[in-house]
Symmetry: T
Subunit: 146 residues, 12 copies
């Protein structure tokens, strides 16, 4: 079973960006920490909405069992990403490092939440680990439902 | 005379995506069906807003007489796409497979409708054929106006 | 198979009204043009919301196979018309001569779009012909689904 | 004492229209059921806003003691109907077969509620009987107040 | 030169309706008073949006030089009436007996004001006389502009 | 068969509160009047949202066949009450003494209407009797549907 | 009997300002034309909200019988002006040269309309004459009511 | 170290309420499952906003190290609860069984999210376990920051 | 003469809560300070909306001459509290320690202000003393009006 | 120590203006009453936003210790006044004679409240005395903080 | 060629006002700095909307070639100022010292931007120099267009 | 010191696009003109949001001292771009050729203005030169602040 960690715009800059909000770990650090605990994780980072969509499409057929997605600010307007998440029909967990409800108003609304199974916000880098746990549970629940 | 069928995000996944909404034909099937009737059609499919904009720019100078565009969910927020459509100044038909006014609220508003000549929604794959007919008529009307 | 072309307020004045927006053909000219191509078309024109609703009710039982409706400005507020369209349960195509999304804000929203199968805007008089094609296809699709 | 049951657009089609929402009884069936219990009831059905207004005007002088009105979808936009109800100054009960607050958003607001005495929604055909009871009580209360 | 006074829903009930708001004169009284001063005035009263639209259409060709319209509550939602006023391209004066800006919020917005030349509100029955004066001036101004 | 009349905040003060709006009868008077006609009625009055919710939970298992609820001003914001009404899955009638649509704007929206079967407003104390009739009919209809 | 014509910001520039909207007459020309017909007219022009308010206060005690006010763009936000108009309790007519409902959205709402007796828009310079007629009629009506 | 699981209105009814949305486990089942893994957990369930607030106040001084709160529908309007969460200044995790962003619009906004550290939605009963993990991590992080 | 100081949710925690906003005095300290100056003051503190309503109801008959109320965050949504304040018909002063207009947007609107006589915000603990002064004046004014 | 009472548009007309709302005392009467109790008070009244701003600027350097301001209707739109209040950095109390939250909607929002320390509404002329007390306390608190 | 620097409310207080936002230079310092570089500059500072409007009117005929305007907070509501700018038909540059889009929401919208040629925000005192450069360029461009 | 001119979607088409709005110069012409004056300028043009973000990221470490950005229509929705601008923490100037406040409503709001230092709109190609001047000044100011 493979779980995909898909990261969108500006997550490549973690560690450099407002450390008080996002912490000092880079996205590589975060992914590495997750992989130490979960050896079935793939990761992907891009600044391109189109590339993120293509990667999700590929997940439909490449053996990916579940998706953990941090879409960065695309979260707030990319209905194209939303469509991609919805059509691949895989268990999906949305994760945000910060508590987006406590930040600028434009960050309060996620256009993808309605089509993901689980959302986890504000837990920092640890949120990725919680997200993988949630994803694994979603996969188990689907199989249990068969 | 060449007519460009330009398709945006997630249309590459037609046939896999909610068949009750979008039907079982792939975008290739749809394009092939159109081409059987209209032999002067070019097609283009991309997940990238930027690539769609570049393709439209090219249409301004490559002999394209009219454009049929299904921008997928970019329809609802891509003002950059809107600008591209407006500046190429070609007859343009917007087409959507589903009746977007009957779906989620965010699909009710198209940011490109105001700069296309004709919009056709809800006619499924057949909508592409109607769109090419409309495009052809628009070209004829422009020439007639000369 | 009969297809009804139902026209609402002010369409009787086509030809006199802002020719730059609506063209110089009268509604009779447009209907005649459609009938030259499609000999199974009935037409109806009225300034009365009530009369339009009654005509649609009649279509439920008089052998009408599909409806093409241009409700004029009733499009933007007549929920009574919307109910009539919905309850007759016939394939329905909404048509507008102009590209309503490019005009005054009050014309951007159609209260009937959510209950019609297909909407075609901006194609001028030719839109009626496209609408009849779409209606015919809808009838065929329903029969094919039986 | 006469009580007027005034029905607006599309109520003539009851029985044919979405039976899961509106039931299988026709408006004649409903009126007949009411008349079996209340022999002083007059009824009126029209698709025309203008005819409904004229009928209400007539009620001011023809001996009508109270009005029960189901304005169909005019409920949601006909300020002209609202004015008519307000000016006749008769006890008035608004009735809707379905629970409009549980349906599409445009049905949640009634422009006439503020000028009727009583509103009853969601009780189906039986709502007409409750409405006549309420109307009768309103008449009694007015007379008691003299 | 003929000037048409066109009156919409519920104006037939003037005199009976809230005399503190509308006064005790009937619409006939008002029209008669106007005619005593202006002998080239035609009048029309209807409860039907459709009839009001038809009358306006007729004004385009029957020698009417200008229109004074009190659309009653249609003022607030009848875009079909707005279209009719706009397309006849005659000098038009909108009149309201009461000061609609001081009444319920739904009366604050007129959907026809943007397509009439002059609006006069709050002057009671005398507003009709002012409106005819304004209409006459508009006709003169147009002729002067020739 | 038991029918529960559940009353929320400030209904205990009926008779003292704005008699022109709510009448002079106390809630005990109203309940007593209902019980004179319907001997299978239980009643409950509380100022506490929590207590009202607990009473509704109990109705799920204590033999209550239907609920008549006047939630007072909780009507306008208590989504917790709404959830309670929805989960007990009993026939429910919402009743308000006054015509809330004719009062302050905050009273125009009920957050519970969408999850009750029937709403009756403006009929004063008599509205409780109509509500019990409606509740009884709802119970009969459910049993008839078995 | 004195009637005050009070003019606010930018009306001093009439004749220079967009002649297609406002005409070529200066405010002096307009006032002179009114005075030729009505010899009991005083006029006042200012760019200052404060000065306009002071002038209105003075009208309460200087023998002014009625006010005609064109507040320029203060119309759209000066609640202080509104208070001044309301407190002097004189018959007041609001006049605008252009049809403000047909111009930019910010001009569609007047914060003073609700506290004036009559509003006249779109009649150009002639609107001032109509306004004086209306003012005179308002004075007569008040006296008649004594 | 004690972690408090605080549950608000209607959570006592889990298992009976829409099992497709909320699952078949009761709140006792869920708490028991959490306690099997985490032996330092206290739980609290109430229908009363006031009781929930009092319990949170107590947590400030009774040795509670962190709070996991599922406020039920109070989530959407109880600013009093928000204040209570904010003032106790303990690490707090908000949990919802369902994916509230995919349900009725009123459930899309949480008034407490901005004052909790972490929010987890849509993970069902397992969400409580993830929430305790998150709470434990928050406690560790605070101590680490000392 | 008795004046009731009624305090709502979270005021019991004053002194512990954000001292920069609310100061370091507890509610007991504040009440004691008021009582040192005004010996006819009763106080009440609760976290329960229902208890606050019941206390206000009691004030109608227990000799309370005026009410000073700090409803905490209930201020922003409790229409039930508003109804209770309105129906007891006692002079009422709303007080808030902080300047709520300078804090989060949800605190800018008070649903009770429209039914209290006086509102005092931002004066800290001293605001309670000002409120009692205002209450005393209101009582005097009522008696003076007899 | 000097305290400035600054009054804006239309307060000069107190006594003449709606005595039921504002009382019969003139602004001179009110100021005189305050001065009888507080001998260190300066007062200022103007109809001009600009003059009010200049007076506030002067207060920054003329020994004024605190400001009490009743900005009249400027309260609702004068962001220039707001800037003036904010930049002088003196303790400031906003006072309104009437309970503005109970009047027309445009009076419900004050654009200056967020930059004053204390707001007092609805206490009539006595509100000025309360305001001076509050101002004195603010000055004391600042000095205490030094 | 003369360029007018016109400054509105509170700019006279620069240097004293929030130096972190506006810097420590006074408006005289800023104007002097501009004049050192551009010897054809006139300046004007006022707290009065009316005076600012009058100064702009004068610019139409006093040889002013272009205007640089910092309207202070009038920017956000003075439609009268907007009209003045529009009617003088001179090249106009709007300048703000701070980046208004990053401050309070009421500062995000300028009612004059739509009628000025150029807007420059956030460049501090140097913004005035950029504005004069822009103004000069606008004058050159107009002359070039002759 | 290097200054980056970063250009987004459709700017590559300058010269072809609406010359009345944007002028006839191509983006190369504009950049060349800037470079003639400022020899330390780098430029970048792309249709891809992702590519623009990557270029900005690179600027953080490649010696770029300041950024001038014209994001095209991404200005109005690309929160991902906003995040990129914010995180690189370089002096940034936003430039638009046209006066966006005077065009379609969707162009009135920039989602990046709040995170750039300076915004310059409406100065055409010359705006790029002003922007480089502003950028240079910002760099100098930062160094001066060291």
């Amino acid at each position: 079973m493979r779980i995909l960690l898909a990261n969108g715009p500006n997550l490549s800059q973690l560690g450099h960006r407002s450390p008080d909000v996002y912490g000092t770990a880079s996205i590589s650090d975060i992914v590495a920490a997750v992989k130490r605990v979960h050896d079935d994780v793939d990761d992907f980072v891009t600044e391109y909405e189109g590339a993120l969509i293509e990667r999700l499409h590929r997940a439909r057929t490449d053996g990916t069992a579940a998706v953990v997605v941090n879409a960065g600010a695309l979260t707030h307007y990319s209905y194209a990403l939303r469509d991609a998440i919805e059509l691949i029909e895989l268990p999906t967990v949305e994760v945000h490092l910060s508590q987006i409800a406590a930040r600028e108003p434009f960050r309060h609304h996620s256009v993808i939440s309605a089509v993901v199974d689980v959302t986890i916000t504000g837990a920092g880098a640890y949120g990725y680990e919680l997200a993988v746990l949630a994803a694994r549970q979603l996969v188990a629940a689907r199989h249990g439902a068969d």
